[in-house]
């Protein structure tokens, strides 16, 4: 319990840090892209909106930094992330909350599948060393070195453009209206298969490698020899004694790698024009929509923190040593 509390506190601290970074970045960097754009919008924004933009980007020179900071927090706690420039006058918060579920669905599910698949394969390879399975490693290494988005491009070129099995972009059939019907869900799955598959293929090798290395290390531990000495069946030894211990560092590295994973898979959305948060961020960058960019960053970071907390909970559940301090 104390372990989880400590982690939760840490994530709160990190959230604060991320928000503060978001606050400081536009103010610390040279140049002021926002004022120019604001000038262009003159007259079309109401005073509230203009005020929130000023708070977000520090355009009020007569307020002290600390006051700006306080105002910034007040805004955030009201759920106000400013107004998007390009989808004017839609609030950033609306855009972001609409895009987030798509990302959680696609990236979340694909990453979990890749983790489970990679761990299972890694267990098998790590257990039976010196067999043909070892030759899989160079292949998976190659795939891990490939940038996610390039693999996505290839996948589109081969499966969508050439073979026509899957659509090349979008998250669902444009002709449909989002609803909870089977048709719609089916369309979502259809459109999501190629991106998900690409994410799985490109990230699975990291998990395979990690688990394999951990299995090799754990197999030489004394308690595995004891398990063999007890005459336990092979499956009991692999699963209960070896894999069950090898997976612990895997889970904690999964938590740490979430930041990387999210980064890479966001680009996947850009490649497939899949309307998740990554694609939204991409659009925001392309159109210099600074409020939207900041909002996306915040939401992405907070989601990663939540996912980290979930992973830590899983770790605590798996490792009894964390549950009692002493």
């Amino acid at each position: 319990m104390r372990f989880v509390l400590r982690r939760a506190l840490f994530y709160l601290f990190t959230a604060w840090a991320a928000i503060t970074i978001n606050f400081l970045v536009p103010r610390l960097l040279p140049g002021d892209p926002v004022t120019a754009l604001m000038g262009r919008m003159q007259g079309r924004i109401d005073s509230n909106a203009e005020q929130s933009l000023r708070v977000l980007f520090g355009l009020d020179q007569d307020m002290s930094l600390w006051d700006q900071y306080v105002h910034y927090w007040q805004m955030l706690l009201h759920g106000d992330l400013g107004l998007s420039f390009t989808h004017f006058p839609t609030p950033v918060a609306d855009i972001v909350t609409q895009a987030l579920p798509w990302t959680v669905g696609l990236v979340g599910i694909a990453t979990v599948i890749a983790f489970l698949l990679g761990t299972a394969v890694g267990t098998g390879i790590g257990w039976r060393r010196g067999t043909w399975a070892d030759s899989l490693l160079p292949i998976t290494t190659f795939f891990s070195a490939v940038p996610y988005f390039w693999l996505g491009l290839i996948a589109i070129a081969v499966f969508a453009v050439n073979l026509g099995w899957f659509p090349s972009n979008g998250s669902y059939d444009r002709g449909m209206v989002p609803s909870l019907s089977w048709e719609f869900v089916g369309s979502v799955i259809y459109y999501g298969t190629l991106p998900a598959l690409t994410i799985v293929v490109s990230s699975v090798s990291g998990w395979i490698l990690g688990m394999r290395n951990m299995m090799v290390t754990v197999s030489s531990e004394d308690y595995v020899t004891v398990a063999h000495a007890k005459g336990l069946p092979a499956r009991a030894v692999v699963v209960g004694y070896a894999a069950r211990n090898a997976i612990l560092p895997q889970v904690s590295s999964f938590a740490l790698a979430l930041g990387f994973v999210v980064g890479g898979t966001l680009v996947m959305e850009m490649v497939f024009s899949y309307q998740g948060i990554g694609y939204t961020l991409y659009q925001a960058v392309s159109t210099h929509d600074y409020p939207l960019m900041q909002g996306c960053f915040l939401v992405i970071t907070l989601s990663v923190l939540v996912a980290n907390l979930v992973a830590d909970l899983a770790y605590a559940a798996l490792d009894p040593r964390t549950r009692q301090e002493g």
């Binding site: 000495a229 005459g231 336990l232 209960g240 009894p320 040593r321």
Partner: protein, 345 residues
């Protein structure tokens, strides 16, 4: 003399799969009889642990058994060579006939399983018909047997003290009431008080359940107290084997004499401590003759060229020693003349 329960014949073990392996065990012959406590002593690296693990085929890679036989007699009197068993047969024989208490209880217990589960999964593997309740009852019984209260069944290894963990290991080993218990340095990591308690516990259990024990340790003085017979190993072979009191009072091999001379006696006249000059041998560079020759104060020319055979000394006593000083062929049977005083007591 009771019947043999574990017979190791001419066991050869290498480390290394390549073209130049290290020969860590060079033709070991050892017999363990029913109900006896056999002590296996020697310096670190002499191969005593290797012997125990190789005899049960638990030696980790790059260990390789290159010759010999290990005859195990199970409780029905059937004799089989452990080295010739299939995987399934070996799994069945393990823990049921031969059990090992490993060194270092903290790393020998699975950190993510409760103690109760680790006690019972061995039982379950060999007796699949038992109900969970029976298993739990048996686990509780085992804990009580080693003096731990049954409410520790649900504890995790990291919640127990070192002494308790070691006792759990012993309880685990006795779960199926094996005939042979191999104990690898069972008390080395513990303090003296705990050492004594554990040993007494083991001996009491041996008296009650009647299993045979191979007690592996570098501490000869311990063996002198608890073992029936002692075998002393050096550089991968047994150099002396006799009853404990004989080894203690009348060692025949120069190495044994040196070992025993290194321990100060608590009682009796004060004497100077003698050590053994030189360093333990490099197993990769052993010469043709006796491995102890470079450090032996009584080495003769023949010692450097010809390896001595483990056999009864020329005095005809019922014991074995691998030393040319006692070789009947070299010196003449029946005589004890010409032996240095500490080897002729």
């Amino acid at each position: 003399m009771s019947e043999p329960v574990l017979e190791i014949r001419d066991l050869h073990v290498d480390y290394g799969f390549g073209d130049d392996p290290t020969h860590v065990l060079r033709g070991v012959d050892l017999t363990l009889r029913r109900g006896e406590v056999l002590g296996l002593a020697g310096e670190s690296g002499c191969g005593k642990s290797t012997l125990a693990y190789a005899a049960t085929r638990l030696l980790p890679p790059p260990g390789l058994i290159t010759g010999g036989e290990v005859w195990l007699t199970d409780r029905d009197g059937r004799r089989s060579d452990v080295l010739g068993l299939t995987d399934a047969q070996l799994r069945a024989a393990r823990w049921r006939d031969v059990a090992i208490v490993f060194q270092g209880a903290m790393s020998s217990l699975n950190p993510v399983f409760r103690i109760g589960r680790q006690l019972t999964d061995g039982i379950r593997a060999h007796r699949p018909g038992l109900s969970p309740r029976d298993l739990e009852a048996r686990a509780a019984e085992l804990l009580e047997m080693v003096g731990i209260s049954a409410d520790r069944l649900r504890a995790y290894p990291h919640q127990l003290s070192g002494g308790m963990r070691q006792r759990v290991m012993i309880a685990m080993a006795l779960a199926l009431e094996p005939q042979v218990l191999l104990m690898d340095e069972p008390t080395t990591a513990l303090d003296v008080v705990m050492q004594r308690q554990i040993l007494e516990q083991i001996m009491e259990l041996r008296d009650r359940l009647g299993f045979s024990v191979v007690l592996i340790t570098h501490d000869v003085s311990l063996l002198v107290e608890v073992a029936d017979r002692i075998a002393i190993m050096y550089a991968g072979e047994i150099v002396e084997e006799a009853t404990a009191s004989e080894v203690y009072r009348r060692p025949r091999h120069p190495y044994s004499a040196g070992l025993l001379g290194s321990f100060p006696p608590l009682r009796g006249p004060r004497r100077a401590l003698s050590g053994i000059p030189g360093a333990p041998p490099d197993l990769q560079r052993l010469g043709a003759g006796c491995p102890f020759a470079p450090r032996c104060p009584h080495a003769m020319d023949v010692c450097r060229d010809v390896r001595p055979v483990l056999g009864p000394p020329r005095t005809g006593e019922v014991r074995r020693v691998a030393c040319h000083l006692h070789d009947a062929d070299l010196v003449g049977a029946g005589t004890s003349g010409g032996l240095p005083p500490e080897l002729a007591r």
